[in-house]
Structure formats: C-alpha cells, structure tokens
C-alpha cells in the first residue's frame, strides 16, 4: 500500500507524478486488450487520483510494484465481478466493457467516485467489498490461464517468485524429521520387497569380509597403542558399514577425500595390512615416509588423498578435484567423507555452496555418529541433522541408515550415478553411532555411559546385521567366520611385527619433498644438523639412520 506522508514537497512531487501517471496510463491503454487495460487503467487512475486528491506520496518504485501487484488481484476481481455480478460499482464502465474497442479515454474523467475506494490492492478493499455484499476472491482462485492472472510472479534477478498475502515464517525445523532409508532391519531381515535393492553373493561377501578385516585391524592396532608400540590410533568401530559399503559402490577412478575414520575405503581398494602398519609406525618404507601421524593414510595409486588433521579442509579441495574432473570430462566423481562436527566448520558451507554453483560432481558423505569428541550433535547444530543443510544450498540430499550396509551401498551407487550423469553434487547423511572413543587420546566413558556404548556396539552392530542376512541366505557359516577371523588376526599381527622392525626414516627425508628440489637454505640447515650430530653423537637417538 502506498505510504501516506503528506508534506508540501511531496505534494508537488505527487502532482508531477500523477501527471506522469496519466500520461503513462494513456499510453498503456492504447496498446493492450481490454482486460489488461481495464485493470491497469483502474490502478493507474487510482494512483494518479490518489496522488492529486489525497496528497499521498508515492515513489516511483512503490508505484511500479503496486501496479504490478494490483494487476493480478485487480484483474481477477474485475473478471469475476464482470462475469458473475451486475455492476453497481462502476456504472460508467459497463459501457466501456461491452464495447471492447471503444476508447477508454472518457473513463478517465478525474471524477473521484466511491468506486475508487474499492482499490484492487491487498486486503483493505476486501472489507469494503464485504460491506458492499460483493463476493470476495482470494489469490489462489486464479488457476486458469486467463490474461488477468499473468502477473502473479515477480521477476527478480534470482528468478520468478510468487507473491502471498499470508505472512508466514518458515519454521526452523519441520514437525517430522527427514526419514531414514534402510533395507535391512536390526536383525538383518529385509524390510523391502524390491529385489533390486540387494547385493549379489560375491559382492556381499566381499563387503562383509572387508568389515570384519577392518574391525580386526582396529582392535589390534588399538591394543598396540595401549602397549606403547604405537603413539596414536583412531578406530572406526560401529562405522564399518559406511566404510566398506560406500567403497564397494564406487569405482577405482573416483577420488576419495576422507576425514580419518574411513580406512575401510583404502582397504577395499587394496591397501595391504602391511602398508597400514608401515604408515602407523612411521617407518622408512611407509607411504608417508614417517612424516604424518598414524591413520593419516594416503595413496595416489588408489585415488585416496592423504589425510589432513584439521577438519573440513578436504571439502573445498573435493570441489576443486571435481572441477578438474569436469574439465577432463572423466567418468568419475569425487567422494568426500566427513563427520557431524565438521559440518560446523566454515569450509563445509563454502564447499557445498561452491559445488552447487559450479555443478561439481561431488558426493558428500556425512558420517553422523552423534559425537564430536565430547560434543553431542544437539550442541553442534540445531537443524534436523545434516541432510536438511543440502537443500539450503540447492543440493539433493538423502538420509540413510549408516549401519545397514545394503542401504548405504544402494544410496552411494545411486548418488554416484546422478553426480556423474547430471554433473551435480549430492549430499548423503549416514546415521550411525561412534562406538569407539574419539581416539586413543580420549576416554569417552567420561562423558557418556558404558551402557549406551555397549548397546550400540551389540544391538546395532553393522557387522552382525549383515552377517545375519548373508547367513540366512546360505552364503556364510560359522566355520567361514572363524576362518576369516583367524586369518585376518594373523595378517594384522604379522604386519605390526614387521613394521616395528623396519628402519626409521633417514635424516635426509626431513628435508626432501618440502619443495620439488632442495633449496639452498634447506641444504644449509641439513648440513648444520649433520655436523651437530657428528660433534655430539651421545646426545642424539642412536637408532637414527643417517
């Protein structure tokens, strides 16, 4: 509604505006069909008259908006009134309506009648319409393709937006939380009748063995840390399904950027137990050349980017990699893993936004395991988990039961296809529970009860669930289970022993790979270190290979 401020400069302005309006209205009227020009003329007329007669001021902007808004309801109203009622309101218009081609100029006669009080704007005129016993119409009545309803959207730089007179705030969260997709129930019974949702025997057994191997590996490495053989370790208990099932759904060309609780992906792709152990012990033959902490694996050959400790740093990088894949038009996507805590980091939001804007083929997989060290998800965010955040950035998202290997497999496979075929990002939120402590530097019983951990470890174990399903299918048995576990145990123990025996990295490796070649300042610093060791051999570690 035009604002009503009557001060003298405005009145002058108003008069000028009204004159301009009149000119405009003439021009308009001459070029449109009667339906249009009627509503428009009425609105223009109203505005010009209101300016001159009531002294209200209107800025041109307001006017423009006002005009376009009135056209819709004005058009509606007029149409209905004309078609269904006699017109007591506008006796002088009846004649102009009947003859479509007659010039409407005589309708603009500057006469302020009570008819102009029935402005075709907003709610104010509804009251007067009521009073006059008129049928009151709402915006939604304009369903048909009439010319009166053409202006229901506002054309803004971001696209068309429809109007509403209903002032309603979008709620912070919907009453019902986003549902979680699953295929098997807790005991491994299928709950879907769609046969396409299940894996073949070979794949299922491979996924299952991978999960058991990961679990065993974690157990032994964790023990090794407790015994003092390793300085640090981080387990993935409870999240084995996310690790292996997602890896199974990807191709080896898909680049993986993990956070730190996804070694299962590497395991699937062929990283050997020995290689895991070498990296953890930081010895000479490990991939990282002893430069990074344990569990910070990386393998260019297997398309698994070296893990970096700070959270969310891998997410914008994922978008960049997808961008390069897009340029190369490869049949591959990028998969970025992260936890619930990471979604608070600025990099997460920037990455999702960029991925959406650039149509980057990234599959973002969030392991919502409920905890970020001691911070629960309720203290991390107030939204309905992570899945709703995708929508805010224009990214299709889905919530899946992270402890159901089959569900995770289906979702990741579908997401990957969409990401590559449609060249757009996808967000997957895999719901699970962090059975493990955050790492060996944490004792989570300090902030959560042992019973809760035990419950999730046993009742919702992803390994048990898949095992029940494959056993019922007749593909697995206790004998094979014990064989697998014994074999894996032996492998892990052997790998740990071997890795421990290996030599530590050479002194030279402290300075190599900082740049592509050794610059002079580093060469100087290396010489300095060697000289110092030579002069004081007793003061430095003996097992240091030079």
């Amino acid at each position: 509604m035009p604002s009503a401020t009557a001060s003298s400069p405005y009145e002058v302005k108003a008069t000028c505006l009204s004159l301009q309006c009149m000119v405009l209205s003439f021009q308009y009227l001459s070029s449109f069909s009667y339906c249009h020009h009627l509503s428009l003329s009425l609105s223009l007329l109203y505005s010009s008259l209101s300016l001159s007669h009531t002294g209200r001021s209107l800025t041109f902007n307001n006017m423009a908006l006002w005009l376009t808004s009135t056209r819709r309801c004005g058009g509606n109203l007029m149409k209905k009134i004309i078609s269904s009622h006699p017109l007591p309101l506008f006796p002088n218009y009846q004649t102009t309506f009947a003859s479509s081609s007659s010039s409407p100029t005589h309708s603009i006669n500057g006469k302020k009648t009570s008819s102009f009080q029935y402005s075709f704007l907003g709610t104010r005129h509804y009251k007067s319409m009521h009073a006059a016993g008129e049928q009151i119409l709402t915006q939604e009545d304009d369903n048909d393709d009439s010319t009166f309803g053409k202006t229901k959207n506002m054309d803004l730089p971001g696209g068309k937006i429809a109007y509403t007179t209903d002032m309603k705030f979008l709620p912070g969260s919907s009453e019902e939380r986003v549902k979680c997709y699953r295929v098997l129930d807790e005991d491994g019974y299928p709950i879907s009748s769609n046969l396409l949702e299940y894996m073949s025997k070979e794949l299922a057994l491979r996924v299952y063995s991978g999960m058991v191997t990961l679990n065993t590996m974690d157990k032994f490495f964790y023990e090794a840390q407790r015994q003092g053989r390793l300085s640090f370790y981080l387990t993935s208990f409870g999240e084995e399904a996310i690790n292996l099932a997602s890896a199974a759904a990807l191709s080896f060309d898909d680049i993986v950027l993990a956070q730190y609780r996804e070694p299962g992906v590497l395991l699937w792709r062929g990283f050997t137990m020995q290689e895991f152990a070498n990296q953890c012990f930081g010895n000479n033959i490990g991939h990282g050349k002893g430069r990074q902490m344990p569990i910070h694996y990386g393998s260019k050959k297997l398309n698994y980017i070296t893990i970096s400790s700070p959270l969310a740093t891998q997410l914008p990088q994922a978008v960049g990699m997808a961008y390069s894949l897009k340029m190369d038009k490869k049949d591959a996507c990028v998969v970025a893993f992260f936890g619930d805590g990471t979604t608070s980091e600025g990099d997460f939001h920037a990455a999702l936004n960029f991925a959406a804007v650039m149509d980057a083929p990234v599959v973002f997989i969030c392991r919502n395991n409920g905890w970020a060290i001691s911070t629960q998800v309720t203290e991390q965010f107030r939204s309905d988990g992570v899945v709703v955040k995708g929508q805010a950035y224009g990214i299709p998202s889905i919530r899946v039961d992270g402890n159901d290997a089959l569900a995770v497999y289906n979702v990741v496979r579908s997401a990957r296809e969409t990401a590559i075929n449609e060249q757009r990002p996808i967000l997957i939120e895999a719901m699970t529970y962090r059975v493990s402590h955050h790492s060996t530097s944490d004792d989570s019983t300090k902030y959560r009860s042992k019973d809760v951990i035990e419950y999730w470890k046993t009742v919702h174990s992803p390994i048990t669930r898949l095992r029940n399903w494959v056993e019922r299918k007749g593909w697995w048995s206790d004998k094979e289970e014990s064989e697998l576990r014994a074999q894996t145990m032996k492998q892990v123990k052997h790998a740990i022993d071997e890795a421990e025996k290996e030599e530590m990295p050479l002194l030279r490796d402290m300075f190599t790979d900082v740049y592509d070649d050794l610059p002079s300042n580093l060469m100087e610093q290396e010489t300095l270190v060697r000289e110092t060791i030579q002069r004081h051999p007793k003061d430095f570690p003996k097992d240091m290979p030079l």
Binding site: F232, R291, M293, K446, H536
Partner: protein, 307 residues
C-alpha cells in the same frame, strides 16, 4: 572468573570435558554452561563471536584446541581483533585473551605442531606473551585477562604437566616484561616457552665448562622487552637466541633485527640464532627431535660465540 563476572571461556570441549589439556577442568561445574561455553567446531566463528562479545562488555577467553587450528581464525584475529579499536577511533575495545597449546609436541604431526607466534607477530593491535612455568602462566594469564588489549597467550603442549610451588597471594605479572632466569657475565641467551628448559639444561653443561651464561626468558613476544634485553647485552656483549620457531620469519628473526638496530654498538660478535628448520614437523620421533633445538647445539653455539 570469580573476581569478574564478565570473564567467560569459549572453545571446543572446554565445558564438561574440561578442555583437551584439562586447562578448564572444573570450571563448567562451578560457573555454568554459559560462562564456560562449548562451541561448535568453527574456529573463525567462535573467535569472531568472542570478539563481538568483547566489544559489548564481556571479557572472553578464547581457546583454540591446538594453536594450529587458530589459523582458521586468522581473519578474525588480524582483521577484527587487532584493528577494531583503531578503526573505530577508540570507541570499541576488545579485551580478549586468545590462548591455546602450541609448539612441537611428542609426535603430533605437522598440523598439530605449529608455532603460530611467527605468523601472528606482524598483526598490529595485539600483544603476544608466552608462558613457560606455572608461576608465569598464572601471572601472565591474569594480566592478560585484566588487560584491555587483545592478548594472545602461547602455551606449550609439553609444559602442562609441570609442577611448581607458587605464592598463595594474588599476583599479576607485567605483560611486557622479560624474566631474568639466570644472571651471568659471558653471554646473553634469549629464549621463551619450552626452549627455556633446553637452555637451562645446556646452562648446566656450560657452567661445568666454565662459562657463565645469562639466561633471559623473554616472555613478551610482542612487544619485546628491549630494556631488560638491552641491559643484558650491554653487560655481556654476546647474544644467542634459542627458539622453536622456524628459521624464516620467526620470533628469532625479528628479535635479531630489533637487537641489531638498537644495540649494534654493544655487540662483540654477530647475533646467533638457533631455530627449527624450515620444514613441516615430521611425525617420526627421530626426525622430530632433530627439528627442535637440543641442548648440545646450544652448548656448541655458546662455545663458538665466546671464542
């Protein structure tokens, strides 16, 4: 926190967990969840939040779980924390304390072994202090909280387990003062944080060899306490700087420049600076030990200086 209700703590896992190094242990139980605030994982955001809170009257203490993560907050610290008092014409003051464990630990990997004092030293508007003993940790922390300027307090990951008898009564140390650890005659050794212990270890060896080093813990990294340092140089005429920062652009580099500018005439020998190499801190224990300056190197340097 007891003395001033406006003092509050914010950071990741500082509340009921007590902090990753237990610095804020017991505070949440005593002062409540709002004064000891557990934030989501967004360093730039909670640093910004702390700055905003400070501008409207609170006195927050912002904790970075590891100093290295505060690199994410660099924008807030440099562009806002350091600048707003100046750009607002003195209208808004930002009495924050930004603290956290930094330095090279025991095999924490490159990303958890950052020496942020070298990156932050250039920011105008902030003060930087480094504590090294329980006594000066308490004093400097109190001084930092009471200061109306933004102060970055650098703690060291390996120094949290130190035990020392400290006075019962309240004491506040001066933020711009250096500490005379061991007076001497032959050479001035300037150091801070963990390197102080390596220097003291070397000092024992040096004393046995007949040298008399003067050891100063500079504590104030920005601005330098050139008064104490200057007096020492005028006495000994030889300077050795021992730091954990990297060679390029570290505190040692700035200190060398400052001393040369001001006390060049008093020096009998060029300033020697022992620092870490310009490499990311490796994880392997043996390699990591090599990146940090060790006592034998300090002894050798002093011997060379005093020749």
């Amino acid at each position: 926190m007891e003395r001033d209700v406006r003092v509050c703590v914010m950071g990741e896992d500082v509340g009921h967990y007590g902090g990753s190094y237990k610095v804020t242990k017991g505070l949440a139980e005593k002062y409540g969840d709002l004064r000891v605030l557990d934030t989501p994982i967004a360093e730039n955001s909670f640093t910004g939040m702390g700055i905003g809170a400070a501008m409207t009257g609170l006195r927050p203490i912002i904790e970075g779980m590891n100093m290295g993560f505060l690199l994410l907050a660099f924008n807030q610290i440099s562009n806002n924390c350091g600048m707003l008092h100046y750009t607002s014409g003195g209208q808004f003051k930002i009495p924050v304390v930004i603290r956290g464990p930094g330095g090279v630990g025991r095999q924490l990997g490159a990303e958890h072994s950052q020496r942020l004092e070298s990156y932050f030293q250039s920011i105008p508007g902030i003060q930087m202090v480094a504590c090294s003993t329980p006594y000066n940790a308490k004093g400097l922390m109190k001084a930092a909280i009471r200061s109306d300027n933004p102060v970055i307090l650098f703690e060291h990951v390996l120094l949290y387990n130190l035990k020392e008898r400290i006075p019962d009564e309240e004491y506040v140390l001066n933020l711009e003062e250096a500490e005379m650890v061991r007076p001497g005659e032959h050479v001035t050794i300037l150091t801070y944080s963990r390197m102080r212990y390596h220097v003291m270890q070397a000092a024992k060896t040096l004393v046995n060899k007949g040298y008399d080093p003067e050891v100063i813990d500079i504590r104030s990294l920005k601005p330098f306490d050139l008064y104490t340092i200057g007096n020492s140089i005028k006495k000994t005429h030889r300077v050795l700087i021992v730091e954990e920062c990297m060679r390029t652009g570290g505190i040692g580099a700035s200190l060398t420049a400052a001393i040369t500018e001001n006390f060049h005439d008093y020096l009998d020998a060029p300033i020697m600076c022992l620092s870490s190499q310009d490499v990311p801190t490796p994880y392997a224990g043996t390699l990591e030990e090599w990146t940090v300056v060790q006592p034998p190197q300090i002894v050798a340097a002093v011997e060379q200086l005093c020749r």
